[in-house]
């Protein structure tokens, strides 16, 4: 093992050697720099290996031949090894990235870079306070030099800006170093030592003036973390510096400063922890809020860096509470932040323009888009990255200790951060790309790819660590997830091959595992896997490679499968996040779906955070629990757990109030994606509700029966969803709103909490999958052929697209719940269910929603397929084969399910007996008997068939002489109307109804969420004006920060 002292020696020696070299031999100097940094990286890696694999003890290195306190000592332990590796590797990669700049700048620039890295390593290793001060000053000086690396050629705004940023930094650092020096000397005076451990043992706080001395030091070191409000200087640096330096400044300097704070807290002891927490959480929230209105990419990354550092400070401040899991959480968050932020800064250097929307240029290179996705997922703490496990553990520990305010604030800040990061990703995928080629030079792309690889390696590592913690296998090795991720490697294949692989994989997985599910889960498994495979048939209609589609789709399906297979809260939540992310990528693929995908991911992540909080509350301090033991959650927490989980799941089922993402997301999605995200994805929310209700049953909060509240929400959702559907002009939006209504029905059934209610919900689950997938495909096919989704632009397509017509006809008969199709079965069970329930009023509301469904369904078939054919549509052909084929399969399924509903339902009925023994159905031969009546599907089918044929024949006879209306029989007073579509019968089809009930469809909810978003933006925009760009203000901010902490912290 090489002594850690060589980390410093190597950098210093190389820097001096550079001075001896011929200044013109720049290549040689560059080689010396790289070799030194690589050597330092290797030394750190070697130590890390020894600590993790061989389990050696931390080593102290004494300098000047004496032991502390007479000389400075350095310590190398596990944390130091990991952190120095991070610093050295970031330095090495940034040096590679800076190749052109360093070669142009010559040996002096390289020496400054070496000193900078060495100083950061020194901060991490040293156990001496004054030595810490020296290394910090070295960081200041070298940083002030490296800031100037930015130049116009390299994508920097202008070297002039970085010049002023550097000066502001020096101003603030002057204040900081005065505080640090004063603090150190008084602490020395009080304890007689400069050694950190010695001072910790001497209990500085008890000595005269010790508290003030520590306060001064603490403020100075914390200021290096860029706490709010003393961080304007750092933002200016992030904005103007060379991205390779910003990568070091964010990842390495941040990590080193955090470790310095950690060491300092050893001296301060427990009473300083709440202050650290307070500073951290305020910084986390403020920085994320101020980032919202940012449009400059690097400044946004700066805000995000500050926020993440604040979050790690919160973790350090909670270490009494977090105990042994502190390193797991702190490193999980820190390392995710460091790798992702370094990667993003490096990425930003590949682009010429600095607005967020300009990142659309990155679309030229799918690999770099993947890198961006990886980094975003790491920053937002999505599985399987370390931040995810850290977030889970942190939230659980905080909830277990009753720290609900802190918990809420952390989740709020994380949600805001996810908001601006995913908005950015939306720009990247959807905005018009500026005309520029993204350079693909190895030394610049290489570091980015190394960061991506590091991200995935860390995901694996943390999965292993978490596996040890929770006693489970590595999440990353779950078969469905691996299958989904393998499509990343196969993305170069043509779409049809990948489609076949996907279908085969899903069917095979179902065949392998179908014996493991109980009847309830089996229904969902069939819908997710077999149903998913069926909708994928439609994807054969897309040609080319379809980059990015299959990883996203398979990720969603993997998440759903893992969801129903999950037995513990952790597995469930991980699966929930995976399916959310996968479906987000799918939805984002639609042409105009950027804003809708964003609102989808925000509602979903918000919901996921509620679920996380609910699980954490239920776990009561344990790292996870069996889902079945939700039933054992005790009284004061139980109703809250119920509320948190229920609201979380309802973000997915789009219950009223949380529904605004759905119409756009489903309508704007690609033709074959709409059925996936509507027919299949919505069921995940229902599944969650089922798990919750089965385990927790009826809960009361302040005397209110929560299932009763659910009934009301469900009834209103059904009513408003249906009503909104009636007034849509866009066929796919109509279907989307109809889904909201349908989910309302299903939720209502569950909330009834009786046997038939649940059966009804399951009938809805099956039916809704079949007919909504079918309708979305049919309408999608029509939209593809006609080039519009506006219904009044269609019409008369019955002869041109007969198969689509049949699908829609069958579909709407099924949806409307009239005999003879399966929708009627749902209604029949539903009417039986409400007969036995005690809540009348919400039932009336739900009842009203029924006829409204007729209105929109009639409109759908009438305006698209009947009436006059438009001139421009005369050459329209039937939808592509692969879009029609699944529709025909669905038609067959609907007919089968209508005739023999017992096929699926009787097993579920029997299964439900163990939960709701009362009021089951009796299955005898072809009839189904309830307490109130019986239903014979076959007889009904025959009767309806006979009636239909009779009436149809009669009509044919009566209307024999009817005259076909020609297209130009109606003329608009010989004038061309101003807006021609307003005269079309299909435009504003239900105007009278709108007059009567339109007030119910006012977008109150949309306005509420818009206002909330506006408020956050405005708050962020006002707040960030604090940073007025004046160096003196920044100095004043630091002093104000010190004073505020002094008084608020009660020092």
């Amino acid at each position: 093992m090489v002594s850690p002292l060589y980390l410093i020696v190597l950098a210093l020696a190389a820097a001096f050697l550079l001075g001896l070299l011929n200044p013109e031999r720049r290549g040689r100097a560059y080689a010396v720099t790289l070799v030194a940094l690589a050597g330092m990286t290797l030394i750190s890696a070697d130590w890390l290996w020894a600590f993790t694999m061989e389990g050696i003890d931390p080593v102290d290195v004494y300098t000047a031949g004496a032991e502390p306190p007479f000389a400075i000592n350095l310590r190398m332990g596990l944390a130091e090894a990991a952190l120095t590796l991070l610093v050295n590797l970031t330095g090495l990669l940034s040096a590679l990235y800076l190749k052109d700049v360093l070669l142009a700048g010559g040996r002096r620039t390289m020496a400054v870079l070496l000193i900078s890295v060495m100083a950061l390593v020194g901060i991490i290793l040293t156990r001496d306070l004054f030595n810490l001060f020296v290394f910090f000053e070295l960081v200041v000086i070298s940083s002030a030099g490296l800031v100037l690396l930015a130049n116009d050629k390299d994508g920097g705004p202008a070297s002039g800006l970085s010049l002023s940023a550097g000066f502001k930094y020096l101003i603030v650092s002057q204040f900081i170093s005065a505080f640090l020096l004063l603090g150190i000397i008084f602490a020395y005076h009080a304890t007689g030592t400069l050694n950190i451990d010695g001072m910790a043992n001497a209990s500085l706080g008890l000595a005269t003036g010790g508290t003030i001395a520590f306060f001064l030091m603490f403020m100075a070191i914390v200021a290096e973390l860029k706490p709010f409000p003393a961080n304007g200087w750092a933002l200016d640096i992030y904005e103007s510096a060379h991205p390779a330096f910003s990568a070091i400044f964010s990842a390495a300097t941040g990590a080193a400063a955090l470790y310095a704070v950690d060491k300092l807290l050893l001296i301060g002891g427990a009473e300083w922890l709440p202050i650290a927490t307070g500073i951290g959480i305020v910084t986390f929230i403020a920085a994320n809020l101020f980032a919202l209105p940012q449009t400059h990419d690097r400044r946004l990354l700066g805000y995000s860096s500050i926020a993440q550092t604040g979050l790690v400070l919160v973790v350090l401040g909670q270490r009494d509470l977090l105990g042994d899991s502190t390193p797991f959480i702190a490193f999980g968050l820190l390392i995710s932040h460091a790798v992702a932020k370094a990667g993003l800064f490096w990425l930003s250097g590949l682009l010429k323009n600095r607005q967020l929307a300009d990142w659309a240029a990155l679309r030229q290179r799918p690999l770099l888009v993947f890198a961006f996705v990886t980094f975003t997922a790491m920053l937002t703490g999505l599985p399987p990255f370390p931040g995810f496990y850290a977030k889970w553990e942190l939230v659980h520990q905080l909830a277990g200790a009753g720290q609900f305010t802190l918990l809420g604030l952390i989740l709020l800040g994380a949600l805001i951060e996810a908001g601006y990061l995913f908005r950015w990703f939306g720009y990247l995928m959807k905005r018009e790309a500026p005309v520029e080629t993204v350079p693909c030079t190895g030394h610049k792309v290489g570091p980015v790819l190394v960061a991506v690889a590091a991200g995935w390696a860390l995901a694996y590592l943390w999965g292993d660590l978490a596996g040890g913690l929770f006693g489970r296998d590595n999440l990353l090795l779950a078969l469905p997830l691996l299958f989904a991720l393998s499509f990343l490697l196969l993305d170069w294949l043509p779409a049809w091959i990948k489609n076949s692989l996907a279908i085969a994989g899903m069917v095979a997985f179902f065949l392998l595992t179908w014996g493991e599910y109980d009847p309830l889960r089996l229904i969902f498994a069939i819908i997710f896997l077999i149903g998913g495979a069926l909708t994928l048939l439609a994807s054969y209609s897309v040609h080319g490679r379809r980059i990015g589609f299959y990883p996203a789709a398979m990720l969603m399906y993997a998440g759903m499968v893992m969801l129903i297979r999950a037995t513990t809260s952790f597995d469930f939540f991980a699966a929930w996040e995976l399916l959310t992310v996968g479906s987000y990528f799918l939805i984002l693929r639609g042409k105009h779906s950027e804003p809708h995908a964003l609102s989808y991911i925000l509602f979903s992540l918000g919901g996921a955070f509620l679920i996380l909080a609910g699980f954490a509350l239920a776990a009561a301090g344990a790292p996870q629990f069996d889902l079945a033991s939700l039933a054992q959650v005790a009284a004061p927490a139980a109703p809250w757990v119920f509320v948190l989980l229920a609201v979380g799941f309802m973000t997915k089922t789009a219950a009223i109030g949380l529904h605004i993402w759905l119409p756009g997301a489903h309508a704007e999605a690609e033709t074959d994606v709409s059925p996936m995200v509507s027919g299949i994805l919505l069921k995940a929310g229902l599944y969650g509700m089922m798990v919750l209700l089965l385990a927790m049953g009826k809960q009361q909060l302040y005397g209110v029966e929560l299932t009763h509240v659910l009934l009301w929400i469900a009834a209103l959702t059904a009513l408003i969803g249906n009503l909104m559907a009636v007034f849509q002009e866009d066929a796919k939006r109509l279907l989307a709103y109809s889904s909201i209504g349908q989910m309302g029905y299903a939720l209502f059934g569950l909330a009834l909490m009786n046997h038939l209610g649940w059966l009804m919900a399951l009938v809805f689950v099956i039916n809704h999958y079949i007919y909504k997938s079918m309708l979305f495909l049919a309408v999608g096919g029509v939209a593809k052929r006609t080039g519009t989704r506006e219904m009044y632009k269609m019409g008369g397509l019955i002869r041109l697209m007969p198969l689509s017509f049949i699908a829609v006809l069958i579909g709407i008969i099924a949806v409307s719940g009239v005999p003879p199709l399966s929708g009627f079965g749902g209604r029949w069970v539903f009417y039986n269910a409400i007969m036995s329930a005690e809540y009348r009023l919400p039932m009336v509301v739900l009842f009203m929603a029924g006829p409204i469904a007729f209105l929109y369904l009639f409109r759908l078939i009438y305006t698209i397929f009947l009436g006059q054919l438009k001139d421009e549509l005369r050459r329209v052909k039937e939808a592509p084969f692969w879009i029609v084929l699944p529709q025909m399969i669905y038609v067959a399924l609907l007919l089968v399910f209508a005739v023999v509903p017992g096929l699926a339902l009787r097993h579920v009925d029997a299964y439900l007996n163990q939960f709701f023994p009362e009021g089951g159905l009796h299955w005898g031969g072809g009839t189904i008997i309830s307490d109130y009546g019986y239903w014979n599907p076959v007889a009904i089918m025959i009767i309806v068939g006979v009636i239909f044929t009779t009436v149809f024949a009669l009509l044919l006879i009566v209307n024999r002489k009817a005259q076909m209306v020609k297209q130009f029989n109606i003329v608009f007073s010989a004038e061309r109307p101003f807006r021609p579509e307003t005269t079309h019968y299909a435009w504003n089809f239900y105007a009278p109804y709108r007059k009567a009930m339109g007030f119910l469809t006012q977008p109150f909810v949309t306005r509420f969420w818009d206002t909330l978003a506006d408020l956050l933006h405005t708050a962020g925009d006002l707040g960030r004006r604090l940073y007025d760009g004046n160096g003196q203000s920044y100095g004043f901010h630091f002093l104000a920060f010190v004073v505020i902490v002094f008084f608020v912290g009660g020092i």
């Binding site: 940023a165 000066f167 204040f175 004046n1030 100095g1035 002093l1039």
Partner: protein, 122 residues
């Protein structure tokens, strides 16, 4: 009671620090700000030395008058003096860097007013 020399030095040091801070926050000229920081830096150094001062003792230099054996009881605490030397060197470096910055800023903008360099903000 007369204040001791250590107390006087300490007070002087703090007054210098405050003057320096005040100047750095109120003077808009870059050069004056740098001078102000030098003042506060000097103040900090004086405080450090004052901390290490012990009444009636001599400088911590081992020579003919002070031998190693009785040094512990005869010299003042050498650590703050060592620290102050380092602090002075670092202060020199930072001041030089700031002056270089001021020069470059002036070259670029023909102005030394700190309020003129606020393009980066928010």
């Amino acid at each position: 009671m007369m204040p001791s020399i250590a107390q006087l030095a300490m007070a002087t040091g703090f007054i210098l620090i405050l003057i320096g801070f005040y100047g750095a926050l109120t003077q808009r000229n870059l050069l004056r700000m740098i001078v102000a920081f030098t003042l506060s830096g000097t103040g900090v150094n004086i405080v450090i030395v004052a901390i290490g001062y012990m009444h009636g003792r001599t400088a911590p230099i081992l020579d003919a008058t002070v031998n190693a054996a009785d040094a512990v009881s005869r010299v003042i605490d050498p650590v703050p003096q060592a620290l102050v030397l380092t602090a002075i060197v670092i202060g020199l470096g930072v001041t030089a860097l700031m002056l270089a910055y001021a020069l470059k800023l002036h070259e670029q903008r023909r102005s030394l007013d700190i309020a003129k360099f606020t393009e980066l903000k928010w």
